[in-house]
Symmetry: C2
Subunit: 511 residues, 2 copies
């Protein structure tokens, strides 16, 4: 056995353990009876601890040293060299973080999620504040342990979006906000006249599921290597590329929630199912920082694929011109007297809502900007947790010109902070921006792509994405991947052009 | 932390890993998309290897030494002392078995199951013979490694039924065969006149499920700590007492398959759900020899509970007198003109069938005797694998006076040997025998038990079983448990009395 093969075998088992953690998580969210929760928490904790001990052990260091020597002559496109480099990077970072800090965050998560749920149900921020303060403090210590040049936020961002910094985000957000403002100013009032009464009818779950699954399969989701379940919060999760599962939730009174939610998760799933089989069970399909079996190179890159398939494909006019008839076959009574254009317009209304997960494409990023501003301030210490609700409400007013009705639908609406995620929100916006870059590049490279999409042939788009994004797993950093695939670094231009093209058509500027 | 607490914490994590193996298995059999099978096999192998390495390590030995010193003064009823003793026993046994032998069996299982499936589908024993020969050889080596006094079979039996031996089985089987023969001679011809046409009607799955689940809950199955799924082969599996899952399969043309199958699995589940919470995550809810999270003290004891609830309760006349009306509500058309007595009689027909899983209570143990005789002969070397089909057919003729139509429905019908199980078949019969002993003891100890059962009050029976069997988990050996609960060792008497009582009534001897 060569040194690389030994390294590979060792990480294959680590990936197995990460897949096991993913399965324990999937089962807990979709199948587990309520009574099993406490035992499940301990099972997850045990496997996570074993995997973590294994990864940060001296053995890993020795295997890395030997494997590095073996692959040192190989070029930058070698998956072997990339595997070793990725593992080394994560190893170096995690070895800097004290074990008790990681386990402290893991323990706090359990308590904090419970506190957050109770606080949200009772509309009482005070119940969550103490745990949130501790979570901010632990993340501040985490940032110090990881290390950074300019801003502690930069350190946390490395976990989710390698190469991203607070400074780059500020520039990106300023550009986006400027570009979005005029669209919002027209689209929000314009949307008030858009007919949408037919969305609020009784849409039985079984038909929602059937239609959405037809589309998911048309996009290319392979049910021989996947399955669809119901869960409180939709998600995608994988246990190698050969078992990639998605979930959704159904709202009988509002079918678009499940439909677009499922298109979104399908985008994530196509990424995972499209990873090169040669990368299976290796560091390039493992998020070693989070001990998570995942093939996408960053949160943002992953989100770019869910957004691309959900919005740029699934929320487009050609899509509904083609598929509305099928939707109508599933819901003949609910959609009597509605046509494709009316459905398309209803699905693209722009509204100033206080709730992020209900936001349309125009307002979505404003929700993110608010959250990122607040996370940075909390981490800097320039904002105290006690002052957070006021800062939140002021931010919503500033960005969206509305007031949240209460804290439950304001500062308490997102689960992220209670689960220890600080620094992950930007990746939603990074995903939107990258999606437009990838989509534009695919169009340039693929003559006839729009024609193919209009007739429901998704193979050319999926093929380009597989070739340029999916198959590489975590081999390249987001910046490398973007440059290789599109010839450019992260750039808000294509995304703003996409939004303008869509919303100028829907809500034309006054001539 | 005391030495015992350290021991406890260590084994709690081992139990977590065993629960994880169980979940990987459950998911593979009930939820996993087909494409995921290969990756799943590797995940199971990795966790099993880690758990095994952990258990047979020197660390375990040190922890055991220290814990033994701490609990040495405690009486035989102390769960602490029992935990340490159980762990020591399994540790001593497994340390005698070379690691490569265990992994050899594990690897062969994967290949052999595939070969068995193909052989059965093609009715071609030759395709399975080479793997079966290797499996017998590895089990022979396993028996030598474990050690035995009289017969190599004794060594293998220790894995499934501690305290059982080939000699004891031979005596038990002789008694049973003698007692069963006259019943079979009357019941088989008598059954030809029993009306059963209504069993072969269209029974939709949803109603089968609804009725069976009503009964399972009436028996005491707690769905807050369990769930029911569909699988190719019915089974029960647990991840601690707080998450105990059962499965069944539905035959639209033969409702009893799913109903009695579900009563059977419910019996297993009641055992697991009834384990004392104090034993959770400890050696007394872990089969350390097989790295399986399970609360029952042996295969036979576990089977005694599935048989008791399936047959002695669920296949009894009082049961159907009470519940037939509900069954009829679920299937009004299928059961028109049928009454409780007719259904009871149809469900208790006795037929000489070549298929074990279709066997009734009278012929079932004859199928087992045949298999055990063959297993012993294979292990001794007095029967060669090449001669197995002929020996099988001769045995079926001897025990059942029929000829199997082909090898698929003969020597190839059971999965057990291909999965490495040699020595587990006797536990089915041991389970039947123990079931009758427990049931008789419960009756003696519980005045009014029959009246309670007749009105569908299963709490007194479940209560006695919980108190005397379930709560102890694996604390006592099968012999100890039987003696504590019933005042006697394994004894065919109550079982034969039960069979005679039932079948003399159904098929009376000529006066």
């Amino acid at each position: 056995m060569t040194a690389y093969e030994e390294f590979q075998g060792y990480f294959a088992e680590l990936n197995d353990l990460c897949c096991v953690i993913n399965l324990l998580t999937w089962d807990a969210r979709t199948q587990m009876p309520p009574g099993g929760a406490a035992a499940r928490g301990r099972q997850v904790a045990t496997v996570t601890r074993l995997a973590n001990e294994r990864f940060v052990s001296d053995t890993t260091g020795r295997l890395l040293d030997a494997a590095e020597a073996e692959v040192s002559g190989e070029g930058p496109d070698s998956y072997r060299a990339r595997s070793v480099a990725q593992a080394r990077e994560a190893y170096t970072l995690l070895r800097r973080v004290p074990t008790e800090l990681m386990s402290g965050i893991a323990e706090l998560k359990m308590v904090a999620q419970q506190a957050w749920q109770e606080a949200r149900a009772a509309n009482d921020f005070g119940r969550f504040a103490p745990d949130l303060s501790r979570m901010v403090e632990l993340n501040r210590r985490l940032a110090e342990a990881i290390g950074y040049q300019e801003h502690p936020y930069d350190a946390l961002l490395q976990r989710y979006e390698p190469g991203m910094t607070a400074a780059r985000l500020r520039g990106l957000f300023a550009t986006l906000r400027e570009g979005i403002a005029p669209l919002l100013a027209r689209a929000a009032p314009g949307s008030e006249a858009v007919r949408a009464d037919f969305l609020d009818r009784d849409y039985p779950e079984e038909q929602q599921r059937a239609f959405a699954l037809e589309i998911a399969q048309a996009f290319g989701y392979d049910l021989n290597r996947g399955r669809l379940d119901r869960s409180a919060h939709p998600f995608e999760i994988s246990f190698t590329r050969d078992d990639v599962r998605i979930t959704t939730r159904y709202n009988r009174r509002y079918a678009p929630a499940a439909l677009f939610g499922l298109f979104h998760e399908t985008g994530h799933a196509l990424y995972e199912q499209g990873v090169d089989p040669a990368l299976a069970r290796g560091p390039l399909t493992t998020d070693l920082l989070d001990l998570y079996a995942v093939g996408g190179t960053s949160y943002g890159t992953h989100e770019s694929q869910s957004r691309l398939w959900e919005n740029m494909v699934g929320r487009s006019r050609p899509f509904w011109q083609l598929h509305f008839a099928a939707l109508q076959r599933h819901f003949p009574e609910q959609l009597t007297g509605v046509d494709a254009e009316a459905f398309y317009r209803a699905a693209n209304r722009v509204r100033r809502s206080p709730i992020r997960v209900e936001a349309d494409e125009v307002t979505y990023n404003l929700h993110i900007m608010l959250r990122v501003e607040i996370e940075m301030a909390l981490l800097e210490g320039s904002l105290a947790v006690a002052d957070l609700p006021a800062a939140w409400n002021a931010g919503v007013r500033e960005y969206l010109e509305i007031d949240p009705p209460d804290d439950s639908r304001g500062v308490l609406q997102d689960i992220h902070w209670s689960t220890g995620l600080i620094g992950s929100f930007p990746t939603y916006t990074v995903g939107n921006v990258m999606a437009a870059q990838f989509f534009a590049a695919a169009r340039r490279a693929t003559p006839g792509l729009d024609t193919a999409l209009a007739r429901g042939d998704y193979a050319p788009l999926r093929g380009w994405l597989t070739e340029n994004v999916y198959r590489h797993g975590r081999a390249y950093s987001p910046d490398e991947l973007l440059n290789r695939a599109t010839g450019a670094s992260l750039d808000a231009g294509p995304y703003l052009a996409y939004l303008r093209g869509k919303y100028d058509d829907l809500f034309p500027p006054q001539a």
